[in-house]
Symmetry: C2
Subunit: 259 residues, 2 copies
């Protein structure tokens, strides 16, 4: 499994991905899931991936070599040639469809899950930052301010904290912290998601540097965040009163007295 | 969807179930999911159910009327006749298999999801409290102290808080509170789960009354718990320092400077 989050804020764009991959629970490895698809003077496009690793690699390989052009006089079509993030998303969707056509029948016959999904984020030509979620069929949606994040992979464990805390107006600092809390909740309940995590932060101003950080298992900030969060949850839980209906006078309906 | 939790503590047994059911997102009703299967002098057996409502009702109806006996001279076999919780779980599993044989082919042809699962808890004949998880195929497992809870339905949103806080040695008061926090996380992220919630608490001592409480949407304790938890999470999040690697001197690897 995998867990990746993309967050589209008023201040910028955040992508976070874990690195655990497995072929069965007894075969676990570390594998980078945050991939740079285009890195030119004023463009940087990255993708986070979840799902079947061979299908993902086929998609990334096709995009790296470029998809065939309709016009035979033109070279292969690559992300770096696209004039907008929308057209980049279309090209990724096309690669997902082509990879599916090539691999899905054989994988289906072998009984192997072939689904993938991608988060595509970045900017092209100094244009605005964009975030897309590309589905297994190659179709896609763009992230909007009302729901400022996308998840792929093991989404549910880490969703409550995002739903509580993440808005389009969250600061980048706050949003990265909340994203890491979401990852902390996920790795506690799902051993198929694990450290290290890859974090990328794009600020709206294209002149500001793009921040790229790998959070290793021993990262002191992540350990402190995890420990403090755990302590806060325990203390917070203890501060909430016990249910009154467990007391004799709590207005309980007693179903029966056994024995 | 549905969310039900069963918790097996050193002090007793807790069952909690939501009551929301839907036939599509545009057809939502309230339906009791915590059912009494047997209620005699020294036995009380209850089941929480998740999944296809018609299959669930068929299973409950079969158990209520009793399954046919192998010996034609004997009457139908009911939960109240079973000498142990283990044999009660076997009878429920048998009913699940019989309901599947009767309904699954037609539901499959209609493209309707037919899966169900059940939590079976209680005591028989003044014996020890037991909790079983009965799967869609009719097989089952018993709850053990190392993993003191079972969930059915929309499990993932509410699992992190259970994993953090629930042990076999938790008190009943604490465990009911944690279970309600787990439900609070679930209903925030999954609109197919909702109040009212049904709670039952069995104490180890069979002479103590069994507590049965329906928590309505306006329940003041539940609203207070939800509000306080939300405040605590917000304050706790704010108390955690921001990620240092977002600062200029945080040892960040700068991938590139765009623009």
């Amino acid at each position: 499994m995998t867990y990746c989050v993309g967050i589209m804020l008023r201040q910028g764009l955040i992508m976070v991905a874990d690195t655990r991959t497995n072929a069965g629970i007894d075969n676990i490895s570390t594998y980078r899931k945050l991939h740079v698809l285009a890195d030119t003077k004023d463009s940087l496009v990255v993708a986070a991936s979840a799902g079947n690793l061979s299908v993902t690699q086929l998609v990334l390989g096709m995009l790296n070599e470029g998809l065939p052009s309709r016009n035979p006089d033109e070279g292969p079509r690559k992300i770096e040639h696209m004039p907008s993030m929308f057209q980049a998303a279309q090209l990724v969707g096309e690669a997902v469809m082509a990879a599916a056509a090539q691999l899905k029948p054989a994988l289906y016959n072998a009984g192997v899950a072939s689904g993938i999904s991608l988060l595509l984020g970045g900017r092209i030509g100094g244009g605005p930052l964009k975030l897309f979620l590309i589905y297994d069929a190659g179709n896609f949606i763009e992230c909007q301010p009302d729901s400022p994040y996308f998840q792929i992979g093991a989404c549910q464990y880490g969703k409550p904290i995002l739903d509580r805390a993440m808005t389009h107006d969250s600061t980048i600092d706050e949003a990265v912290k909340v994203a890491l809390l979401s990852f902390d909740s996920t790795i506690r309940s799902d051993k198929s998601v694990g450290l290290p995590f890859d974090v990328m932060v794009f600020r709206n101003d294209p002149k500001l540097p793009i921040i790229k950080k790998r959070i290793e298992p021993q990262d002191p900030y992540m350990r402190n965040l995890s420990d403090r969060w755990s302590t806060l949850l325990n203390e917070g839980r203890a501060a909430i009163p016990d249910p009154p209906f467990l007391k004799e006078d709590g207005g309980v309906v007693e179903l029966k007295t056994a024995g």
